[in-house]
Symmetry: C2
Subunit: 225 residues, 2 copies
């Protein structure tokens, strides 16, 4: 039974990686859709989220079946429970990518994003996609150092988010309230997406080290950091 | 062992109810804080979220201990796994109440909410608090009919959210961009808070009936609905 058990555990891990890849791709495509006002691309992201939800249900069913059949304890039990948490993070990330795409669709054929914010939104979208790609890699490799990098990427996301707000609150803002509302929501979607990617990576850190990511990061004193 | 087991299961349920009560109170107090620009009240909500996080950690540890020691199967297993999910919903709801309070603190001594939106925000805050109170009651009573009511309350929340946007996008909006940004985020926080309360109730429905809430609601044909 031991082999079948580890096969099942592996297949849960693979499901998580597939979810991370799907939602990483989704946020990248949603960003392109909103920057280019590409309705077709937006629709494909919106429709594609169903697959992410399906994967989550499959993964949940597999995890529960594994708990019932194999009754894991200690670390193995923690892995299964943590996988459930990660799948929830990833499912929610998919929703956020879908929100970005829905905003693109809502404003089509107009562009939701004014030209002077194009670069910032592009950066937020790219960073979100990279964060999720790294989260997928962390699930595969269980590389704690890589996982800790995500916290720094998330700081970069916070900085971009602040840049966005500075633009919004600048007296020279001339794009009106509707665009301000859109940009506010969009900023929030990217920020939350990044939080979920970090959360996935941090859960791996906790499984591997038994410590929370912030405890580990607090230890080394890096100069000029 | 059977009795100890059910005691443990009950204590998880009690933990969930306590979490729901704390976050329900938090959203009510955060709403008062932002409407009255009451810094002390805002601070108390912000500090109080730590207790919610602690409760979640305790609950998670208890659930994992129960899985390891008692190795429940079938319905009992689903209850434990679902409890983990509910605790995540409630923890997140606590964060959202904290976000409302932080906005109150950020704008203090100014009022974040203009007078003409006071009534709408008050209604959203009260509705959020009622939704969470009902969610707590659903956990205790496992009353499916009550759980289904939450979907209707959530529709009312969506309506309030739309009202808020109509105000924002009205040509007569005269409160500037910063307030528009604040109100946009605030609307999002209440909407997400309500979603989590509905999610908690729906998870109970699924445990009790084996059906998803939307499948059950689709069944009866109510005239004029």
């Amino acid at each position: 039974m031991r082999d079948a058990y580890h096969e099942e555990l592996d297949s849960i891990g693979e499901g998580l990686v597939e979810m991370a890849r799907l939602v990483g791709s989704a946020i990248g495509r949603a960003t392109t859709a909103i920057l280019d006002s590409d309705l077709k691309l937006a629709e494909s992201v919106i429709a594609g989220d169903e697959r992410v939800d399906e994967l989550q249900h499959e993964l949940e069913a597999r995890a529960i079946a594994l708990l019932a059949r194999q009754q894991p304890v200690a670390t193995d039990l923690r892995i299964v429970v943590t996988s459930l948490r990660m799948s929830a993070d990833l499912e929610r990330s998919g929703d956020l990518a879908q929100h970005v795409a829905k905003l693109a669709r809502l404003r089509f054929p107009e562009r939701a994003i004014p030209h002077d914010l194009h670069a910032t939104i592009l950066e937020m979208g790219q960073l979100a996609q990279r964060l999720m790609a790294k989260a997928a890699e962390v699930i595969i490799t269980k590389d704690v150092d890589l996982a800790l990098q995500l916290e720094q990427d998330d700081d970069a996301m916070d900085l971009l988010h602040r840049t966005l707000f500075q633009h919004l609150l600048d007296d020279r803002w001339k794009h009106g309230i509707e665009t301000a509302v859109d940009v506010t929501l969009l900023g929030r979607y990217y920020e939350r997406f990044a939080d979920h990617a970090v959360s996935v990576a941090n859960r791996v850190v906790y499984l591997v080290t038994g410590e929370h990511a912030d405890e580990i990061q607090a230890a080394p004193q890096v100069e000029g950091a």
